[in-house]
């Protein structure tokens, strides 16, 4: 009795083995359902975009091949320079703020105090609403005359700051709203990594007499390095793509002081109907994102080793 069950079980296992070894051609059909829209809408536009970038093309006319003229014109276009300079400033403001605040918030929630679940919900919540909500709420919060921020800053003697209406401040106004919006993602990623740190590692350090700060410095932060690298990369890419909140809050103004590359691409295509020029700008942004990501990866690897 036992032997025959054994034989049947063995035969079943053998069949399963054979099934695993067989090549499943039908798998390609499974992948194609996703792969075809992927090719058409994610890959093809990139190739088409490279072509458009070397033409002069408006919605009405036919494309006219112009070689590298678009790129040469961008080189001497002060508005393009300003948009690309602005986005570096955005990155300089937003990426460190998001990383540091998200780490602090995650360390706090990870302590597991009472109501830390509520704190987690509140810290993450701005991340789930759309740019329109972020933009309009912060236009109101940062209003020079009646906004909450200037109201409370007034208590500590800081005069009304024209957050969104002056050339010197508009970029910072938009950056504040962006930090509020973006932080949730970084926060959740860092929190998940904190929860993965083995408890006995920290306990052992405590037993060895390490205080909270040396535990943070020598145990926790080194363990967080991979996730911090990922957070910085993701946030950097997100910031280089900054658009919607600018569109809602300032319209790139005043005088282009808060415009970003995508904002400039938007006005070039939609307002000025220069699709070739807009595509060329997009390709420059693409290359910039690629370069920065690679450089940043290499730096983080150097630091780690």
């Amino acid at each position: 009795m036992t032997t025959s069950t054994g034989t049947i079980a063995g035969a079943t296992a053998g069949l399963a083995e054979a099934e695993r070894e067989r090549i499943h051609w039908v798998g390609y059909l499974f992948i194609a359902a996703f792969g075809i829209p992927f090719l058409i809408f994610n890959v093809l536009p990139v190739i088409f975009g490279f072509y458009v970038a070397f033409t002069e093309w408006s919605i009405f006319g036919a494309p006219e091949y112009v070689g590298s003229r678009n790129f040469e014109e961008i080189w001497s276009d002060p508005w393009a320079w300003q948009a690309f300079t602005n986005v570096l400033w955005y990155a300089l403001c937003i990426v460190p703020s998001v990383t540091v605040l998200a780490t602090l918030f995650a360390l706090y929630v990870n302590r597991g105090y009472p109501a830390s679940g509520l704190a987690r919900t509140l810290f993450f919540s701005p991340n789930v609403v759309s740019a329109t909500v972020i933009g309009l709420v912060w236009v109101w919060m940062l209003d020079t005359q009646f906004g909450l921020i200037n109201h409370y800053l007034g208590f500590v003697g800081i005069g009304p700051i024209p957050w969104l209406t002056s050339i010197d401040w508009s970029l910072f106004g938009v950056a504040i709203a962006s930090v509020w919006w973006d932080l949730g993602l970084a926060f959740v990623l860092i929190l998940a990594a904190l929860q993965d740190i083995p408890k006995d590692l920290i306990e052992a350090a405590r037993v060895d007499g390490a205080g909270p700060f040396s535990r943070l410095r020598f145990i926790i932060l080194p363990q967080l390095r991979p996730v911090l690298s990922m957070v910085v990369t993701l946030q950097l890419i997100a910031t280089l793509r900054i658009f919607s909140q600018i569109f809602v809050m300032t319209g790139g103004g005043p005088a282009g002081s808060s415009a970003s590359p995508i904002y400039y691409i938007y006005t070039t295509a939609i307002t000025r109907n220069l699709y070739g020029y807009a595509s060329a700008l997009a390709i420059i942004l693409f290359v910039l994102i690629l370069l920065i990501t690679v450089v940043q990866r290499v730096i983080f690897r150097e630091v780690t080793h």
């Binding site: 079943t12 099934e19 090549i23 499943h24 039908v26 798998g27 499974f30 992948i31 359902a33 996703f34 992927f38 809408f41 994610n42 536009p45 990139v46 088409f48 975009g49 458009v52 918030f105 706090y108 302590r111 105090y113 009472p114 810290f123 701005p126 789930v128 609403v129 759309s130 740019a131 329109t132 909500v133 933009g135 309009l136 709420v137 236009v139 109101w140 919060m141 009646f146 909450l148 109201h151 509020w180 993602l185 959740v188 990623l189 929190l191 998940a192 280089l240 919607s244 809050m249 319209g251 995508i262 938007y266 295509a269 939609i270 699709y275 595509s279 997009a282 693409f286 994102i289 690629l290």
Partner: protein, 284 residues
């Protein structure tokens, strides 16, 4: 109180950090409270130096002004776009993720790497040529223009592939040995088991679609076909048609309407949001 704190193993320093952190968390979400509070105020109570977190006088006038615009229609467009797009993306993503994890498909690894590599291409870069293409074929301001470019979100493939890689395959193998086809096994056996990644992928991708801004802004020229975020963005004081006095109260009512669905979805399905995001670490 002091006794209880000690029971929880909290020192005085702990209590200070605990309360301080909670206050920061409350302040972090305060702009939402301010948004809702402003939306119920009379314009005269908004444009003042007196800060009233809880309105003294209430009005629904701001909401009435918001609904003078085709907000219902925009909401319907958003719902159609987000639902259809998320449904297709999750289903196709589940199929591809399943095949990549379970079926022997030569070159599957390379295909998956290509999917992942595409995350390096920001969608904003593909938007201009895509817009040009959609205008040229006469599909501007249509549902297919809103939906099609958003269905190939790699996050969906990724999350299902990870799930099936770490999930025992015995149940499916039994079904296959009973002679069920690969598709039938996937649809009737594997997919019902993949509830967790399905909900996580659905809520995250739905939220991304619901909040999507640049593409619907570009491809829709007809007011009736706008999505909710794009339609509501027109309430911005810099572009809006309201007087300066009522611009803020009306715009806060508009964004309250816009944010309530996302916030409710998040509060009820929080677990899946946070699991999904920390698993994927990908947001497009």
């Amino acid at each position: 109180m002091k006794g209880r704190m000690r029971e929880l193993g909290m020192t005085r320093g702990d209590v200070i950090v605990w309360i301080g952190g909670l206050l920061v968390a409350l302040a972090w979400a305060a702009p939402f409270v301010w948004m809702v509070s402003t939306s119920f105020k009379f314009p005269a109570d908004v444009m003042t130096q007196d800060i009233e977190w809880f309105p003294r006088r209430w009005t629904l006038d701001n909401y009435r002004k918001v609904f003078e615009y085709p907000v219902i229609r925009w909401g319907f467009n958003s719902l159609v776009q987000a639902t259809v797009s998320t449904g297709l993306c999750v289903f196709f993503g589940a199929m591809a993720g399943y095949a990549l994890a379970r079926l022997r498909v030569p070159g599957g690894r390379i295909i998956f790497l290509v999917f992942l590599a595409s995350l390096m291409i920001p969608s904003e870069v593909t938007v201009v040529p895509m817009l040009l293409a959609f205008i040229k074929i006469g599909w501007a301001s249509t549902y297919q223009a809103l939906i099609l470019p958003t269905i190939a979100n790699v996050f969906s493939v990724y999350i299902f592939r990870q799930f099936f890689l770490s999930f025992p395959r015995e149940i499916e193998e039994a079904a296959r040995l009973d002679g069920a086809s690969a598709f039938k096994t996937f649809l009737l056996v594997a997919l019902p088991l993949a509830r967790a990644p399905m909900i996580a992928a659905s809520v995250i991708i739905f939220t991304l679609n619901w909040n999507n801004f640049l593409w619907p802004l570009l491809v829709v020229f007809d007011d009736e076909m706008k999505t909710l975020p794009v339609g509501i963005a027109a309430f911005a004081p810099i572009t809006g048609s309201h007087t300066q006095l009522e611009a803020f109260s009306v715009s806060m009512a508009a964004v309250t309407v816009l944010s309530v669905p996302s916030l409710l979805l998040f509060f009820f399905l929080q677990k899946y949001f946070i699991q999904g995001i920390s698993q994927g670490g990908v947001k497009q």
